[in-house]
Amino acid sequence: MSTRASEYAPQDPAARSDDADGPPTRIIRPVSGWLPLDLAELWRYRELVFFLAWRDVQLRYRQTLLGIAWAILQPLFTAVVFAVFFGYLGHIPSDGSPYPLFALVGLVAWQLFAFALLQSSESLVANQHILRRAYFPRIVVPMASIGAGVLDFLASGAVVAVALGWYGVHPTWRLLFLPMLAVQALCTAMGVGLWLATLNVRYRDVRYTLPFLAQIWLLATPVAYPASIVPERWRSLLGVNPMAGVVEGFRWAILGTGRLSPGLLGVSSIIAVALLVSGLYYMRRMEPRFADVI
């Protein structure tokens, strides 16, 4: 319901308030360069984040036969395929856990990330109709786009719980670290997603790069294999890919296997935060022109 906020400077001639009740509420002016993030305004639009996410959830499985079961089937079937080819035929080690369980936990973490990445990257273009006709902080759109994926993630948690019971693995206090790791996965996805969504507004090449990027990234992340097959001294380097820390962390927290390498996790978190912050500022810088070029 409000216009773009600009900082109010008392000496500003546009703000002169003769004949008015105090200074203006808003001043609209040309913008360029790097802008502050204005998180207060984002907070005012929190309901819109909710409604857009809720719309995606409503629409995601409407007119499907299996509905929310898709959220469970996807990681489950992929885990079965991985188990057959990598575990049974390929003899890839799994840090002492049963390989199918090892792969399933990795895949659930991965799909949380991959879905958030794809949805946020496409979100601005997918909602261009709204962007051209209504004002709100644009960050609302990619933020809302990950909502449906988080719900899928929670649903797939049920599959993991059943699998744990099947293999007789008992969760420990380490499970408490899971939300933190999930947040790191989302930060990474949002960070990269914000960059790609912003680029996508101008260069639709992004759309064709995405599946390719997701595939390469999956291979570079220890989902089908354990990080422990990477020599010890190079392992922190693996953390340059923030998802390496997340996937390894998931296994550590759920299966209790492997060691959580603090070096790897530290590097992962720093990079995830750097991606997110840079993505936020880049998008904020480009957003005044979205409606003109989208």
């Binding site: 216009t3 009740d21 609209i28 913008v31 409503q58 007119q63 639709r204 409606a291």
Partner: protein, 424 residues
């Protein structure tokens, strides 16, 4: 006069000029450009960027006081929508400032974000959130919204089963709940049936009455005159008139803009209204000799001559015209596929001229405007239009001894076939 609500100073918006294709670039586009003109880089560089851009809005300055209802009028492309987009925050200005006192709500389109798979109820909440309303606010007024739209029985039916009229009414009913200090409305009333439009106008009048400031863009001159005390006329991005609504509307309709009232021509095919199928080249009002004339006598026929570039004849582009009175009433629509032998047939490629004649002794004295539309597939596909493209005045030049003289009431003044007899 209330205190100030909105001050716009030197506002300007520059767009890069894009006359072909989509606005986004791809690597492929660059390759195609190279393939088309491989030696282009040898030629002196066109002054890139700056020269290939235009000002949609330039040096616009005005103030609006609290409680004022201001109409913003002008031809298509005059910058009306750009102005509203800047004020609403959708796009940033290139220069100048706009200061707003109080919360501003923008209604650039009714039903933004409506999704056909969602139910009526879901759409109301989503649309409300996009317009910036709080959920609690929408919940409180939900029944009122549904009743206003008259869709009580279909609240939980997916919108895809709604008629287009129901959808429009629902969309407007949500929008009508926007009660910010300043409200900007773009063409939102150009929807729905006449009965519902009247309802909407009443709602808008109420909005103005409670001391709210309204900025209202419209092509409907009757609505502007009725709803707004004041009007601002934009032409090619600049304010050319600002004053009492009736006076500004009059000036606009009389061709107070830079173009001649009776003739409108587009020299550059790339800038003319239209698309890759057809573009308008000229619209003229001509007298019985075929000469352009801004004034036509009551007892003379009025010719409307439309030239257009028929770029893809296989699309079977046709031309329609609409005649509006000064008060904004639509007198009629006419379609050139009624020309003998041309029904649904393709027109020749190149420049095509469609001319129609309004019979003598049909229009009463007054000012009329002609809107032109290019379309194909029996009118289902639109290729471009120009609202109020040309205007003309009908005058009575008859001699004193002619019984049909002077200003009559009404918009039409047909030469009726009277008979006087003595009933048996």
């Amino acid at each position: 006069m209330g205190r100030i609500a909105l001050r716009v100073e030197g506002l300007g918006k520059q767009f890069p000029l894009r006359n072909t294709g989509p606005s986004y670039d791809t690597l492929g586009d660059a390759i195609v450009r190279f393939a088309k003109a491989p030696l282009a880089f040898l030629r002196p560089k066109q002054p890139a960027g700056r020269a290939r851009s235009f000002w949609a809005l330039r040096d616009v300055t005005f103030e609006v006081r609290r409680g004022e209802a201001v109409g913003v009028i002008g031809r298509n492309g005059a910058g009306k929508s750009t102005l509203l987009k800047i004020l609403s925050g959708v796009t940033a200005p290139t220069e100048g400032t706009a200061a707003i006192w109080g919360a501003l709500g923008a209604l650039l389109e009714v039903g933004t974000g409506f999704h056909l798979e969602l139910t009526g109820r879901e759409n109301v909440y989503l649309n409300g959130a996009i317009l910036g309303m709080k959920r609690a606010e929408v919940a409180r007024r939900f029944d009122e919204i549904i009743a206003f739209a008259g869709v009580e029985r279909f609240v939980d039916t997916p919108a895809k089963h709604y008629s287009s009229g129901m959808l429009m009414r629902l969309a407007f009913a949500v929008a009508a709940q926007l009660d910010t200090d300043v409200l900007v409305v773009d063409e939102a009333l150009a929807v729905g049936d006449v009965e519902f439009q009247r309802k909407c106008l009443q709602k808008m009048e109420q909005v103005g009455a409670v001391g709210r400031t309204v900025l209202f863009v419209s092509h409907d001159m009757a609505a502007v005159t009725r709803l707004c005390s004041r009007a601002i006329l934009l032409d090619r991005g600049s304010v050319v008139a600002d004053g009492r609504a009736s006076e500004v509307v009059h000036k606009y309709l009389h061709g107070g803009t830079a173009h001649g009232a009776a003739v409108r021509e587009w020299a550059d095919v790339a800038l003319a209204p239209g698309d890759t199928v057809a573009r308008l080249r000229a619209v003229r009002i001509v007298d019985e000799e075929g000469k352009p004339a801004p004034e036509i006598a009551v007892n003379q026929s009025v010719g409307i001559e439309i030239d257009f570039w028929n770029l893809r004849p296989e699309e079977r582009t046709a031309v329609s015209v609409a005649l509006h009175s000064q008060e904004g009433y639509c007198l009629f629509y006419g379609h050139d596929f009624h020309a003998p032998g041309w029904k649904a047939g393709p027109r020749p490629k190149g420049v095509v001229r469609s001319t129609c004649r309004i019979p003598r002794n049909l229009l009463a004295e007054g000012l009329f405007t002609v809107s032109v539309y290019l379309h194909s597939r029996g009118g289902t596909e639109s290729h471009g239009s120009e609202a109020d493209a040309v205007a003309f005045t009908v005058v009575d030049r008859s001699h004193r001894d002619d019984p049909l003289i002077g200003s009559w009431s009404g918009i039409v003044r047909p030469a009726l076939d009277w008979q006087i007899t003595v009933p048996p």
